[in-house]
Point group: C2
Chain length 337, copies 2
DNA sequence: GTGAAAGCGCTAACAT
DNA sequence: ATGTTAGCGCTTTCAC
């Protein structure tokens, strides 16, 4: 059975020293004026007794936790796990704790998460929304509670909040141009069923690049499907069964792109000689396949530091602002184009 | 500038209704006895006013948060991001929030995290320790505070706490046997510099399998290096530069195994005909490469559910127990053996 | 430089 | 079924 909890409080420390607990509080937080001698004595005794500040009490009293929240649709894809990992490191460095939430791409869960965020009075929120989150409405509740938030990568449309986004249009545009430059003329586009703007932007970039290079937009070459490697495999089959086969394929995710490569190799096409392939996300998985996958990369470290800085600025200035930071992607050339 | 925070408390709800705030508290938590009529009225008014329970106050008052903590060395490797993702899902389902911490493989950070855990009075902890954490000592502080914890995958040696571990010895053993069965006789072993027991167990399994099959243990065929794909690449080069080249390679991580495959293909060896390769972890990345990597897989869902169940049992029974759950790994045959 | 008083929002225990 | 009391551990404000 559990034994008595021997939680040490500032009052215990105070009693031991025959002083007032308020003085202990002051000393331990290095605020107010406490004689150096007393302060040292207090700190010594506190660590001697194994005093650990009760954050629950502190947070309650201060009406705010020291917690930053990160909300992502799914923690497993490389982009998100890397973002979260990096974000945690710089947040912890700066003295914040981090709570992570996963919406599983469900708007309903996202709403519950926001209620929890308010309940916990988190200090700030960094969020990437679900594929279906079109409106900012449920995030507005945070604003009512004066909890600053910034969106990264995926924001609601017309969000009136600070955002750190990738220029997806440009990324897709450049990827298509890269294939055109290497001599490709019939470039296909594989997307997911997800409706979020980032995917529409990529499609727009694709279309514009074709247009600017006097290439026709062929409806059959634009298809949508699932999110994973096997989906890419299946989509590639559909594309290569066409009478007018593509000689280049842009996939909205690296995983999909890898599935494409696997199918192409299976049916004996050479990459990039017969068909070029480009993906999105700079997933390390792209290095595992052969040829290595050329990809449109967004700089995660700069997204992390922008998100963090913009959030902290709002927290410290006690204002809710609306800034838009656009990260320009770049193509990482490997072997598939 | 920030406008006045309009935080609604139970007292506000009570005042509006001309009743006592304790009744509101009872009604909202569905405890004690409150007339159904009153209860309904209260709930209606509460949601009307947009009341959100102040978790900070609740947790403080209850002396415990409703938070489960997960501590991992690094969030990015597939094994950990998948574990955390799954764990969060079932924890959220059960009404807990989750805080995630990353030790970055540093014992010092791990200690700080534990202090934070105590400060936040988390309800329970699930942890996988750093590569250098040999002793349980800093976790014992949690026990003093009656915070239950369970280790998963990586535990301190001789930990006196509940653990969910993988039978690493067996995994390595079977992997070697698999290669022997396919006719390999000179099997190499690539590990990391990490000292943690899980890697030593794998090495032991490797040795035992050789022994049981009357194969000599050749020192030169066992090498250690980094953690990543390029490290595997480099190690493979060393191995294949040997006069006595191996015809099978067991790598302690899939990423390393993929690096090995890349090197072997580069210098023209066929896989698995000339050299077989097996990795550990069932990282989806292994499906991206060619041939697809055969791997020793631990079932992450069962690790998650065991960890969660064992933790919750301790929380609910108010006891700290010491159980050891061993998950048996299995080999997933793909193309590299 | 230190102490005394008050209260954050909530809930357990007791009283009615 | 509802109300009263008290206090969790801490920090802010004001007094000395």
């Amino acid at each position: 059975m559990i034994e008595k909890r021997n939680t040490v409080t500032i009052k215990d420390v105070a009693r031991e020293l025959g002083i007032h607990h308020v003085t202990v509080s002051r000393a331990l937080r290095n605020t107010g004026s406490v004689k150096k001698e007393t302060r040292d004595q207090i700190k010594k005794k506190a660590s001697e007794l194994g005093y650990k500040p009760n954050r629950l009490a502190q947070n309650f009293r201060n009406k705010r936790s020291n917690v930053l929240a990160v909300v992502v649709p799914d923690l497993r894809p490389y982009f998100f796990s890397k973002f979260v990992s990096d974000f945690m490191n710089i947040a912890q460095e700066a003295g914040y704790s981090v709570m992570i939430f996963q919406s599983s791409e469900k708007t309903g869960v996202e709403k519950e998460i926001i209620d929890a965020l308010i309940g916990y009075r988190v200090t700030g929120v960094v969020a990437s929304v679900t594929k279906d989150t079109v409106y900012e409405s449920h995030f507005n509740i945070l604003r009512d509670e004066n909890i600053p938030y910034v969106f990264f990568d995926r924001a609601p449309e017309q969000a009136e909040a600070t955002q750190v986004l990738v220029n997806n249009f440009q990324g897709a545009y450049e990827a298509v141009v890269a294939m055109i430059k290497s001599g490709k003329r019939k470039i296909a586009y594989i997307s997911t069923h997800y409706q979020h703007k980032i995917f529409r932007d990529r499609l727009d970039g694709y279309k514009q690049a074709l247009k600017d290079n006097n290439l026709p937009y062929i409806k059959e070459l634009v298809i949508k499907g699932g999110f994973f490697m096997n989906d890419g495999f299946d989509q590639a089959k559909k594309l290569m069964d066409l009478k007018e086969k593509p000689d280049g394929i842009l996939a909205v995710r690296d995983e999909i792109g890898i599935g494409v490569i696997k199918y192409l190799k299976k049916i004996g096409f050479r990459i990039p000689e017969d068909v070029a392939v480009i993906g999105f996300d700079n997933d390390p998985m792209g290095v595992a396949c052969e040829p290595e996958l050329t990809t449109v990369a967004q700089s995660i470290p700069s997204m992390v530091s922008s998100s963090f800085d913009l959030l902290i600025r709002q927290i410290n200035s006690n204002t809710l602002s609306f800034e838009k930071k656009i990260i320009e992607p770049s193509i990482i050339y490997r072997g598939s184009v």
